[in-house]
Symmetry: C3
């Protein structure tokens, strides 16, 4: 006997009736607003080619590191899930992989993955029984069949989801051909790119040399000279803007910034690009480049995003066999106060510059980030990120940032996902949690009802449009 | 059409009816208790001269760094708000500044500033419409008119607010003439001082040399010798006690303490006062002086307060133009466990010594501060401080300290403000949040109702009177 | 007039009626399940000899560092409570000590000690008036009389409490005679040991040399050679397994691990055991030994537990007079991400190895521990520990770990206590708090009711049995 799959209309609202009534009313006013997705990792080729996805496993399981990391933590080998290693995809039958997933679905109880997946299953796929071992095949067949239908192609879903704008993320060495193809296709969906130059800034990255080669090729600059290197960045930033980008993104180990003299910076560049750089120089170079990027943002108006604090590829053996992005990135303690000072001393009071800060270290919300954003004109706080993009994580974010930074130094929601089908689910969770937070403030007479109504709109669409200049 | 300004009688209580009823009943028993304000930054000259304040902007906007930092973070220049720079007050019309503030009042939604200001507007000023662009002039005129009335002079408000005692804070180089004038005036208000010697302890402070000169002058001691320097502190502590002080206050970058031998301390003193001290020595000297101050407290019974962890004047350009206390102080991560050990090894088991610890780093509440205060006889926990003096901040404080330190190792509320008119608002918020916390404990059957009733009194007046020896 | 002592049947459940009803129903299904206690510090001699305890003070006050640390923090000398110093027990009359405790019982309001003690008083001792100065003698006489009755002997209480298994903790130098006596006695209670080799791993411990001597004697190995030392650990692990142990336990200052080559490890061993080791070597040796212990766990299947982050014996004067475990251990900030990497690189992907991590630094729950446990197959999260074994602490634990690690990477509850009579109380608090947490999830439609019912069983008995291989 199967169990029903049911998304309760009041999910994520407080059970207290006074709060729930207010939350419900607020949510009704934002539930159907367009989705503005200024930061994510979907593949632009989906929208360029509009080719159908193949099956449930390839679409929903194999690329979702939230999902396979949890399964791996409970002893399920990645091969059994169809996750490719450095030597290619395993021979695992996708249906068998799906069955393994279904059998372990209870592991996701009370996790955001469960919320998102159930939303995809019910709302996007129209399933009405719960996923478990007994329904694995039913799910696999149902989803795979749907994906073959025209209504389930990327562009059709983009339209059905009500997406106003979707930003992808590309490296400095990307050719942006998919983005050009989307624009040339005549399709009306707004898919834009984001400039993420980490690959040509992190000299310790194993792909640094090939990335630099592509960077040179695409720009025609002598990227191995400091002057040429900076000029190449400027050119590529312009290319990205031409492909719709309004923002840059920087994923560094720490938030460290530096502001060296031009001569020191050039000498440092020579050291890190000439032979094996030492770790201290590599780190200083990343720090210096954040300030260089900030200065270019002051020039060209691109919004800058900084996502620090992830220890990438923590699991040595897994990295050796499977490579990057296999669920083994672990957050670290991060400092912002001393780290950002050089950059802020350089451009912190620029009124037309925007630097959006993210964190994986929640202890910095109330201690560092809210006080910084509540003072510096250029700073805004990105939403609860990655592991904290969850009901409890978002609640803590609002509780720990609002009193010092207010709502207006925040920038709405980022789904930050490569799981395209989950985008409506993720925005829905964010809207519900924000409405629940506002409802508590109203019910405790800390906010007027008309203010909450305005804020619900602001948190859903206005702040993100404004912050990302969309 | 204006909107009404209304302070809901149940504000800040949980919306759950069981909790709300208990909170309301508890609050009724403490709402009208006298205000005991053992730590703050009001200007004693107000009470010495009892001169009227001039206008809304000068009183409520210009000196309130919580307010102007938020406006600055959203691009409003400090000049437009009338905030003085190092070269003096700008020529900004105070009414224009007030209008700018009113226009941006929505930025303060769900912040403590909003709670405090609305309380001042409604309760102190008798306004009944909300502040917004349309009511800016009405507010400005109304408040400015009130301030000219005798009932709105400092002493009249002091009496009306039901203040039992108000502590100000003065440097070691202060002449205390305002305090002497208050006592000589025959007015009955109890305004006392607090000994804050940071200016003659922090050798890196830009005003260290002139402060030392005043320190020498006021004490007649050779303050440039270690023995004379310590003797000067003793004399000034006695002067402050004569002006009513029961406490000292220390605002250091970190909680570091040291306990050098007499010879080492003297050598260190010579190094830091002879020419340009290096940063390590300056820091060690601050650390050593905390232990010296603690020893003097053991001798003279003054309660010691330590407020570490603020990165002062983080914004270089702003500091250059506007100077200190312009909303650019940012909290940092703080350690207490290793930092306090030298001082605690020296005097930590003294039963008549009290050291009240504050923090801007909430991660230390449950991890370090509650365990320390739940063991050492001399330690008490100051209330949620500065950015954390807010409904959510106070709730977290109680949730994270009570189970290990209990209520009786805490010291009631500090308003810590220079915004005199907001003092009743701040104490009211604290009383409400404490009653809401106690109500939850009673409603969850973790505390008996009669215990909560006793605790409400203790948290409001008994603990503060006892801890500060008032 | 005395006050009634009453344990409310709904204590620790949310006051919101929807949540409370669900919590009550869940709790009913787990309230009477057996107690599985895989980690604690009761004395196995109690169960070996089954001798009666002497009086209320000796049983409930003198050994409970949670209790006497709070009294000490408020100025009560340890001597007045009967706490022994290095020179033996004070002459304090146990009844007088109990009166002092009773007089200060209000200090424990809203602390877990209060919850546990009231449960002991009401449920175990059958008292129906509250403890206060006026009832001190009544309590003392009542409890002391009960303890003389056969039903209050250790084994009778063990059976009455419904304990399925109780693990004690012994050092590598322990003879395990009490455990042998229990097994030889024919009594059916399952009391097992746990291998805690800190005493022969921490070369800075003041008892290191005598512990090593006992270690050599018990194993017949040359423990002063690296090879013999490792062989001795293997032998003792086998001895402990023979005495029922399924786990080892490691209480280190930090979570640092190392993975030196065999030659480096041997050289390090020689340095730290030959004369006065320097602090850096001592720390590196502890780090290396964690990895050695992990490797042995891979061999022999013992579950490994790591409890880092306590600054032991922080109060120098108290330590000098009273020795260890006198309430002066203070948590410190802890890093896991870099610290555990060497061990995890060595054995982190072993599917049959289990390493259970505890923390006193709650900022690591969401940032480090949940992401690590949500990825590595060997890692599990221990429950909220020590100062965080409290209603608010457990709530934060669930809120900050569940969304990333799920429920199934946690291991149920540990009482971790030497206060045998409080074991049912502690497990009852944990069950109530877990049911309250699950109830919130159900009431907010984040979990189905049937899932919560399954989880309540899992969190109470299934996860702990599985994780500890019981």
């Amino acid at each position: 006997m199967t169990r029903p799959l049911h998304l309760h209309p009041d999910r994520l609202f407080a059970s207290d009736p006074a709060q729930r009534d207010i939350a419900r009313a607020l949510y009704r006013t934002v539930a159907d607003l367009p989705i503005v997705s200024p930061h994510g990792h979907t593949d632009p080729h989906w929208f360029a080619t509009d080719a159908p996805w193949r099956n449930a496993t390839d679409l929903l399981l194999v690329p979702d590191h939230y999902v396979f990391r949890m399964l791996y933590s409970q002893g399920v080998p990645l091969d059994a899930l169809g996750v490719p290693s450095r030597s290619g995809a395993p021979t695992t039958d996708p249906r068998a992989a799906w069955r393994t997933f279904a059998q372990h679905y209870h592991l996701f109880r009370a996790t955001p993955s469960r919320l998102w997946l159930d939303h995809v299953f019910a709302e996007v796929m129209g399933l009405d029984v719960a996923l478990e071992e007994a329904t694995a095949d039913l799910y696999y067949d149902h989803i795979t069949a749907r994906l073959a239908e025209p209504d389930y192609r990327p562009r059709a879903l983009f339209d059905r989801f009500g997406i106003e704008v979707l930003a992808t993320t590309e490296g400095a060495e990307a050719d942006l051909s998919a983005h050009r193809a989307i624009r040339a296709s005549g399709w009306g969906g707004r898919v834009i790119t984001t400039y993420r130059p980490d690959g040509v800034i992190d000299v310790e990255h194993e792909q640094f040399a090939p990335a630099m080669a592509r960077f040179a090729e695409l720009t025609g600059e002598d990227v191995w000279s400091w002057r040429g290197y900076l000029a190449a960045h400027r050119k590529r930033r312009a290319d990205f803007r031409a492909a719709g980008a309004t923002a840059t993104d920087h994923g560094h180990p720490s938030a460290r910034t530096a502001n060296l003299s031009a001569a020191e910076a050039e000498a440092l560049f020579r050291r890190v690009t000439g032979g094996r750089p030492d770790a201290a120089d590599a780190d200083l170079f990343r720090a210096q480049m954040l300030t260089e990027m900030a200065r270019m943002s002051v020039e060209d108006g691109m919004v800058m995003q900084l996502h620090p604090g992830s220890f990438r590829n923590h699991n040595e053996a897994l990295f050796a066999t499977y490579g990057r992005d296999k669920g083994a990135d672990i957050p670290m303690r991060v400092d912002y106060v001393a780290a950002l000072k050089p950059l802020l001393d350089a451009v912190g009071n620029e009124r037309d510059f925007t630097l959006i800060l993210f964190t994986l270290d929640e202890s910095t919300y109330a201690r560092e980030l809210a006080p910084l954003a509540g003072h510096y004109p250029c700073l805004r706080l990105g939403p609860a990120w990655w592991f904290h993009d969850s009901p409890e994580g978002m609640r803590r974010y609002r509780e720990m940032t609002t009193e010092t930074a207010g709502f207006y130094n925040t920038v709405g929601f980022n789904d930050d996902t490569r799981a395209f089908l989950s985008i409506p689910a993720r925005h829905d969770v964010a809207r519900r949690v924000d409405c629940a937070f506002l409802a508590r403030l109203v019910a405790e007479h800390r906010l007027e009802d008309w203010e909450a109504a305005e804020l619900a709109q602001d948190l859903t669409v206005n702040l993100v449009r404004r912050a990302y200049r969309l």
